[in-house]
Amino acid sequence: MAELQIQDIIKPENKVYGKSKIMTDTPLHYCYGCSHGVVHKLVAEVIEELDIQEETVGVAPVGCSVMMYNYLDIDWMEAAHGRAPAVATGYKRVNPKKYVFSYQGDGDLAAIGTAETMHAVNRGENIVMIFINNAIYGMTGGQMAPTTMIGQATSTSPYGRNVDINGYPLKITELVAHLPGAAYVTRQSVHTPANVRKCKKAIKKAFENSKKNIGTSFIEVVSTCNSGWKIDPVAANKWMEENMFPFYPLGDIKDGQRDSDEKYSVQKLKK
């Protein structure tokens, strides 16, 4: 048989991977190599595969992903900084049949929005919470976040994060995993093809959970911010592997459903 030509391979019937139909034509405004783009695409692929475009509502944060509503062709709401889980709660409660997800950075979810994060999960809201932990405030110029690593230089910790002054990096994912309202809590990454595939599975499971009304599904994605870290995207992935994964280990922390309330109900007070 004659050698196969590229033109013979590049035909619609041979297509095995391409841009999700849920993604709009708007070019992403992110820096080159930014993890936000990969996670956006995974959410889009899951929505496409579950065929829930008309039933899905996203709540966008403040941070680099503030304009996420331009990129996925679904219904959106924009929340004030840190308030996405509260807005998602309201939406889900009046539209219980919808798939509702929030998408937030670490400054948004683990600093200004800590209260909303903890209480939404503690109430066991039937939402999907996606948490992009890039250990920095990307949008505002690379300031230290609660999740910044010990010794990590940022524009507000130029000599590196110092525990004596700044305290420890916050493992908010481990904290929410302790809350009885949590159904599924996992930590993922998107720095290799295998991790991208695993992360997509986790996002899919989280969306499926929200149909079952079994509590909150929370997905942290340990991510890079190459601009904020001032290194190139490939080096950023390596830095993340070497420095972030030991402190933020990947894997499921809780996989089940929210605790039964009977477990904790008290007997009525007798007069």
């Binding site: 196969l4 590049i10 391409g18 820096c31 080159y32 990969v38 093809p193």
Partner: protein
């Protein structure tokens, strides 16, 4: 027996030259072009197309959804 052959199409204008697809490719198919696109990025392209196995790794890691992957099974004649 069948052999798998692949090919990719990179949307050159969409590419930001982050290099993530280049390092994710197990077959050294891709490299950044010495030319730049209209935004000034060295876009990714196939330099060793004959090696592509259509594994989709490059497409999956691309933050900007620039890569479309194609794959065919080619029957291999027995010796």
């Amino acid at each position: 027996m069948a052999k798998v052959k692949g090919a990719v199409v990179v949307d050159q204008e969409c590419c930001k030259g982050c290099n993530l697809c280049v390092v994710a490719c197990p077959e050294d198919v891709l490299a950044l072009h010495k030319e730049v696109n209209s935004k000034g990025y060295h876009y990714s392209h196939m330099v060793n197309p004959e090696n592509c196995i259509g594994c989709m790794n490059c497409g999956q890691v691309c933050p900007d959804s620039c890569i479309t992957v194609y794959r065919v099974k080619v029957p291999v004649a027995k010796d």
